[in-house]
């Protein structure tokens, strides 16, 4: 199964503070471990919400709102996409995420829908559109 691992933003990440050398080194080692275990499919860190944008939908209206956004706890700082056997395996990996400063943080795990889970709602036409969008991104992934 695939699991999306969502790393919640912190005051530091929202302030745009770069992680310490120590954390960077430990994170690099952890990422390498994930790759070597055949678990890592994808993963990136995100810029603070001050660089982000929200688009609010209401009826036919589309309202564009510039960041930053206030509710830090609900924001994301980064994500991983993992291939694991079970949620329990994903939990074990999450417990190993380095946290050298001991600061408070929250990581949320969500199982990823397979296309089959959408049933008839996800028609071939929608899939085609989605594929076109995906293949417009470079194939260097």
């Amino acid at each position: 199964m695939r699991v999306m691992v969502l790393i919640k933003a912190t005051e530091q990440s929202e302030a745009g503070e770069m992680p310490s050398q120590e954390l960077l080194e430990q994170m690099t080692a952890f990422n390498e471990e994930l790759v070597r275990a055949g678990v890592m499919l994808d993963g990136e860190g995100l810029h603070p919400s001050s660089t982000g944008v929200r688009v609010e939908f209401s009826g036919s209206e589309r309202k564009v709102i510039d960041g930053p956004f206030a509710e830090t706890k609900e924001l994301l700082g980064g994500y991983w996409l993992w291939q694991v056997k079970s949620m329990d395996e994903a939990i074990e990996w999450v417990k190993r995420i380095p946290n050298p400063t001991g600061e408070h943080g929250v990581v949320e795990l969500r199982p990823v829908f397979e296309a089959e889970d959408f049933g008839e709602e996800f028609t071939p036409e929608l899939r085609e559109r989605e594929r076109q969008l995906r293949t417009q991104t470079p194939e260097s992934a």
Binding site: V35, R36, A37, G38, V39, L41, D42, L81, Q83, K85, S86, D88, E89, I91, E92, W93, E114, A115, E116, P124, R127, E128, E130, R131, R134, T135, E139, S140, A141
Partner: protein
């Protein structure tokens, strides 16, 4: 943690740690069978103690320390102690310089042990099904019951196969080592064969109700991805990973809602898994970037990549596929490869050129009762406007196919040819 069962945590830790645990202990005791016993003992100890004591901060280190302590106890107790020490000396001599050279891509000593474990479990001395069972058990951490379920076999049969395999390894005194350079190609081929066999059993199950077994595909992909990190300079390892990622990317499109198999050119490409396509193409690039010799896996991945790069079936670069099949036919000449090459030639250069290849194959005894030969020949004859001959071929193919759904489809085509006259 509240509410989540400790047993499930232990299972997850086992999933992550077992291969490294067995490999690390095998390094110490120089005996894979004994190492697995000791690792299992450590697991039992965890199941007894962790529900009381809580899960330790570093569960992998706890299991390793426990297993190694038990190993020392056993060696002390057993009279084989002396023999083991002698063996250690003997193996230090046996370890060729290539061992270190090969593993140089991995700077973690545990990775070296993992690699040794993989080569031992896939030793060509063992029959294929024993290699497969031992690999799933030692490297994927599957229980005997899980292996039996995946292969629709009985638990006792799988258990026996594993016991026999371990005995064979012990009796032959197979060293716990990465093969030297001279042996490497043959031994690596054996490893890759096992991984691809596991994948294929998942991709097109040979028995049972289900057409695919995703759990086996996932185990094989994981093994392949691990191997690619352990042996980053071996082109064929990346080639195999690329082939598996690209094939796995089509899983969802291969089966129609009514449960029939959908041929590649008829598949709804929007249902392909584009994350896996991207990974497969990247793995193929890594294979070529090694600069090392390209083998059959890389060539097959190259063919799969031609299909993956085509947004629609009619965009397929058939001339490139023909060139790749030419390479494949040289590396491993076989009538089945030749038949596939003929199909590609037909798509690239027209039915007449393909028919000439197929006609030569008709004398091939290996394809005597292979339904795809008359199917392909019928298809080419139909395209060449020779419906009477095409009809005879489709009827022959219908008699040969073991699959009842295919038989119906072939008889339909035969009937369509009959009405063309």
């Amino acid at each position: 943690m509240a509410g989540r069962d400790v047993t499930r945590t232990i299972e997850a830790v086992w999933r992550i740690e077992s291969a490294r645990l067995i490999a690390g202990v095998a390094h110490q005791v120089r005996d894979v069978a004994l190492a697995e016993d000791l690792a299992q003992e450590a697991l039992v100890a965890a199941l007894e103690q962790w529900p009381e004591s809580g899960v330790p901060d570093n569960p992998g280190a706890w299991l390793m320390a426990t297993a190694k302590h038990r190993g020392i106890d056993r060696l002390r107790r057993a009279e084989v102690h002396q023999r083991k020490i002698e063996e250690l000396g003997r193996e230090a001599e046996l370890r060729s310089p290539a061992d270190d050279d090969l593993a140089a891509g991995a700077d973690d000593p545990f990775d070296d042990d993992l690699l040794r474990l993989i080569f031992t479990a896939c030793h060509p001395l063992l029959p294929t099904n024993a290699r497969v069972a031992l690999t799933l058990r030692l490297l994927c951490g599957l229980t005997t019951r899980e292996i039996a379920r995946a292969y629709l076999s009985s638990e006792s049969a799988v258990a026996q196969r594993i016991v026999r395999a371990k005995r064979t390894l012990s009796a032959a005194r197979v060293p716990f080592a990465v093969p030297g350079r001279r042996e490497l190609n043959e031994r690596l081929a054996s490893v890759l064969e096992v991984v691809y066999l596991i994948f294929n059993e998942g991709y097109s199950a040979t028995a049972g109700e289900r057409l695919i077994r995703p759990e086996l595909m996932e185990e094989a992909l994981r093994l392949g991805r691990i191997l690619a990190e352990l042996l980053p300079r071996q082109a064929e390892v990346h080639g195999l990973v690329a082939l598996m990622e690209l094939q796995a990317s089509r899983t969802r499109a291969r089966i129609s809602p009514s449960g029939n198999q959908v041929l590649l050119l008829d598949q709804d490409r929007s249902r392909w898994d584009w994350l896996l396509v991207g990974r497969g193409l990247a793995a193929l690039e890594r294979a070529y970037a090694t600069g090392g010799p390209i083998g059959p896996y890389t060539l097959q991945a190259g063919i799969a990549a031609c299909h993956a790069r085509a947004r629609a079936a009619e965009d397929t670069d058939w001339e490139r596929i023909v060139a790749l099949y030419d390479g494949l036919a040289q590396l491993m000449p076989s009538p089945v490869v030749e038949l596939n090459r003929a199909i590609a030639v037909g798509m690239a250069f027209g039915p007449q050129a393909a028919l000439e290849i197929v006609n030569r194959l008709q004398e091939e005894p290996a394809l005597d009762s292979y339904h795809l030969l008359p199917t392909v020949r019928g298809d080419l004859l139909e395209k060449l406007g020779r419906p009477a001959e095409a009809r005879a071929e489709f009827e022959r193919a219908a008699r040969l196919t073991p699959n009842s759904r295919q038989r119906v489809a072939l008889l339909d085509r035969a009937a369509a040819c009959a009405s063309q006259r």
